[in-house]
Amino acid sequence: MTTFLLRRLGHGLFVLLAMALLVFIAVYAIGNPVDLLVDPQADAADRARAIHALGLDQSLPRQFVAYLGHALRGDLGNSFVYGTPALSLIMERLPATLELAGTALFVAILAGLPLGLWAGTRQGPIRQIIDGLSLLGFSLPTFWSGLLLILIFAVTLGWLPPGGRGETHVLYGISLSIFTPDGWRHLILPASTLALFNTALLVRLVTRGTADGLTQEYARYAKARGLPPGQVLTGHVLPNILIPVITVLGLEFGSTIAFAVVTETLFGWPGMGKLLIDAIGTLDRPVIVAYLLVTTTLFVTINLGVDLLYMILDPRVRLGNSHG
């Protein structure tokens, strides 16, 4: 177990380092923010002063080594454009993104799991309709489905606000909007948009798994024992299909956070995805690198969490040992 955790930590650190280096080189190759932002009236002295103050006059390896040195001490640098620490800019917005992605995932589970289970027990047209709808669900681009939801629920019906984040409530120093009615009013549309893909995916996954599971011997045996169909489903079939579901959800939670970029931009949701888009536009390297480091860390942690969940769900899995 400890070896497993240590090995995972090693992998994680390597991924972080590689990511930082790649982004560093990429942004360096595009250009520097001073050329993008400096006033045209600025003379060579103004420009040189700004470039020097931001440390951009150093060679790339030097900049990278200096950056790593600071990063080891927990300092991910100041944003060029905001003039404040990049990490705190991201942490300021992380709750908004996690809240959005978390709600989206929750919605996906709430809708996808029961729907999939139900569809899995059905044959014929109902199953085909649900299949077709789920296919549609994950073929629709987020951008388009988000616009559609805005158009229907905000612009035409006027029930919900078309964007922005609602009133927030501070809990343990983190401001979250899921505790206020106004917060939910703002959260519903973007979270539903973001949930669409995962719901569809989950429905398909669970439908197949259930249909398959019901034909297995353990299910037939349970039925033969006289258990009611509902209990066969939730008590026997569901636990058996949870492993692939959790694997996919774990992976998807990561990409939901990453894909939130589009949804956040569309709904003006002040999460870190929107910060990243703005930072790329202005070549604000400290923010870009810090964002990727934070999301990579999230990915690594989520995957670790998924592996640990396996262990709980399936006693046969023993991490760190080779097993057949």
Binding site: I30, A44, D46, A53, G83, T84, L110, A154, L266, G268
Partner: protein
């Protein structure tokens, strides 16, 4: 173990029931609208420190909290603000009289001390990629005569001083001394004389302000103003359509016909200060994007020949470009700066569309069969920028120049353009002075003095340089106007660049609001009025 998911499901269903109840009650909660104004902004505000980063969105926001000595009206004309009057004592010494009735938002009076502090502060901010130092570096000494009189001395006679000063916000020395940019973002150091007082800054989301009761100008009609950051066009439009915001800047061009038909909304439009033109490679013999008709590098640069430049200009049907490609959001341009701006020459007419003449000129210049060309431009910066280049490529192809188009994201494009990676690049430029714009765009490049910083094509014309230099060194406004006009006209007659059009800026708002559209495209809450 096996029961856990079942239990989980039951809990989930219970939660769902509670949740749907909450949602229903939420849906029925109506929206309360107080006597406030909500504005949808098109670009993010990165900082509230008025001396940190010189980008339009930050400057526009700072204008609500701070004033400048001199400011510009909706047409870009200089008008008094904190300085009620000024005069030149000699070509290098300017005397400013401050208004005596001005109080900061904390109730303390404005004095010359605050002004001097504010003029010196930009140089103390080191970590900015876009500092305000270019606007104060001409000033070599600042002399306080009395609490409301100030003398500024420039190194050389310097015409654009007032314009430069219109970019420097005056902060309270008492509040800002020793304070950091972050202190402005939290509001602690954010004490100005402007029409609104800071309430809240949620980065990337919203900024809230209330009326400054000490304001020296006309009392703003709004008790409270909220600025929402809505950088995505659909988000901005949806916010307006659903009544979440009262006014948006940068109304999406594609949706204007629809907004125009909707009786709930009003559009305000005017030509903006932004002129679009094609910049050309004037210097190199082997220009990167120019080939012969078979796509082989040419080794000779036809753009160096005025006849070829004239042919390109004549090939463009500007009327069609503005009416169709831009859907009316532009007017054909013959000038470097927008109409009404110092240096604009009313006598210049947009080049007439004349493909026959263009072909003749090409033949005369030795290119009867044309050549191959690639046009470069951004794809997310100007109104329909991608389509503009496609249209121009078709115009050029009609006179026998095989033209292709390549567009890039802004952050990549600007870097490569200034690195002279292209032969022809699309650029838009907003300026309130023709001589300053000319210095940057067509002045012979000299990084040491900041000349030609965007003249990547290395256009160089001693006569134009001389006229720009004279204009910049002239403090008499009407004489400077004539010189700036002469400088710009000389560069345009030589087709240092090919002017295309002036953009038209659009604001959309609730029908019962009015906004006098500004040439600089800024959105100022105190100028929005209920009808």
């Amino acid at each position: 173990m096996a029961m856990m998911p079942a239990k989980f499901l039951r809990t989930a269903f219970n939660t769902l029931a509670v949740l749907s109840f909450v949602l229903l009650s939420v849906l029925h909660a109506g929206q309360v609208r107080a006597a406030t104004l909500v504005i949808g902004l098109a670009a993010d505000v990165s900082s509230l420190d008025p001396h940190f980063l010189n980008v339009a969105s930050n400057v526009a926001m700072s204008s609500h909290f701070f004033d400048t000595l001199v400011t510009t009206d909706a047409d870009g004309k200089l008008i008094p603000a904190l300085a009620e009057s000024w005069r030149t004592l000699s070509p290098t010494v300017w005397e400013f009289k401050l208004r005596k009735d001005v109080k900061f938002q904390d109730g303390s009076p404005l004095t010359a001390d605050d002004v001097v502090f504010s003029l010196e502060r930009p140089a103390t901010i080191l970590n900015s990629p876009g500092p305000f130092t270019p606007y104060v570096k001409q000033i070599v000494s600042r002399q306080i005569m009395d609490a409301h009189t100030l003398r500024l001395t420039t190194a050389q006679p310097y015409g654009p001083l007032l314009l430069d000063l219109s970019s420097i916000f005056i902060v309270s020395k008492k509040a800002a001394q020793g304070k950091t940019t972050e202190d402005f973002n939290t509001g602690r150091a954010l004490i100005g004389t402007g029409p609104f007082r800071f309430v809240k800054f949620q980065r990337g989301e919203r900024i809230e302000a209330v009326r400054n009761e000490y304001y020296w100008g006309p009392r703003p009609v709004w008790d409270k103003v909220t600025f929402r950051i809505l950088t995505a066009e659909p988000a901005r439009l949806a916010a307006l359509l659903s009544g979440q915001v009262d006014l948006i800047e940068g109304a999406p061009p594609a949706d204007l016909p629809r907004l125009r038909k909707d009786a709930r909304f009003r559009l305000e439009q005017r030509p903006s200060w932004r002129t679009l033109f094609l910049q050309l490679d004037h210097a190199r013999d082997a220009s990167p994007d120019i080939t012969d008709n078979n796509g082989k590098p040419l080794g000779r640069n036809p753009l160096k020949d005025l006849r070829v430049r004239r042919a390109l200009s004549k090939a463009i049907q500007r009327q069609a470009l503005t009416e169709r490609t831009l859907e009316g959001l532009g007017i054909p341009a013959a000038n470097l700066v927008a109409p009404g701006i110092l240096g604009h020459n009313d006598n210049l007419r947009p080049e007439a569309y004349d493909p026959e003449g263009a072909r003749r000129l090409l033949a005369e210049a030795g290119w009867p069969n044309g050549f191959g060309l690639t046009l470069h431009g951004p794809n997310n910066r100007y109104i329909n920028d991608d389509q503009i280049l496609q249209t121009i490529a078709q115009f050029f192809s009609r006179i026998g120049i095989k033209t292709r188009v390549e567009t890039l994201p802004l952050s990549v494009y600007f870097g490569r353009l200034r690195n002279a990676d292209f032969s022809i690049g699309l650029l838009g430029w907003g300026s309130l002075a023709g001589d300053v714009a000319a210095k940057t765009l067509v002045g012979t490049p000299d990084p040491a003095i900041g000349w030609g910083s965007w003249n990547w094509g290395r256009y160089s014309n001693p006569r134009v340089d001389g006229l720009i230099r004279d204009a910049l060194a002239t403090t008499d406004p009407s004489r400077r106007r004539r010189l700036a006009q002469a400088a710009d006209t000389a560069a345009l007659e030589d087709l240092a660049m090919i002017p295309l059009h002036h953009e038209i800026a659009t604001w959309a708002m609730r029908r019962n609001l009015r906004y006098p559209p500004r040439i600089d495209e800024f959105t100022f809450a105190w100028q929005v009025r209920p009808e």
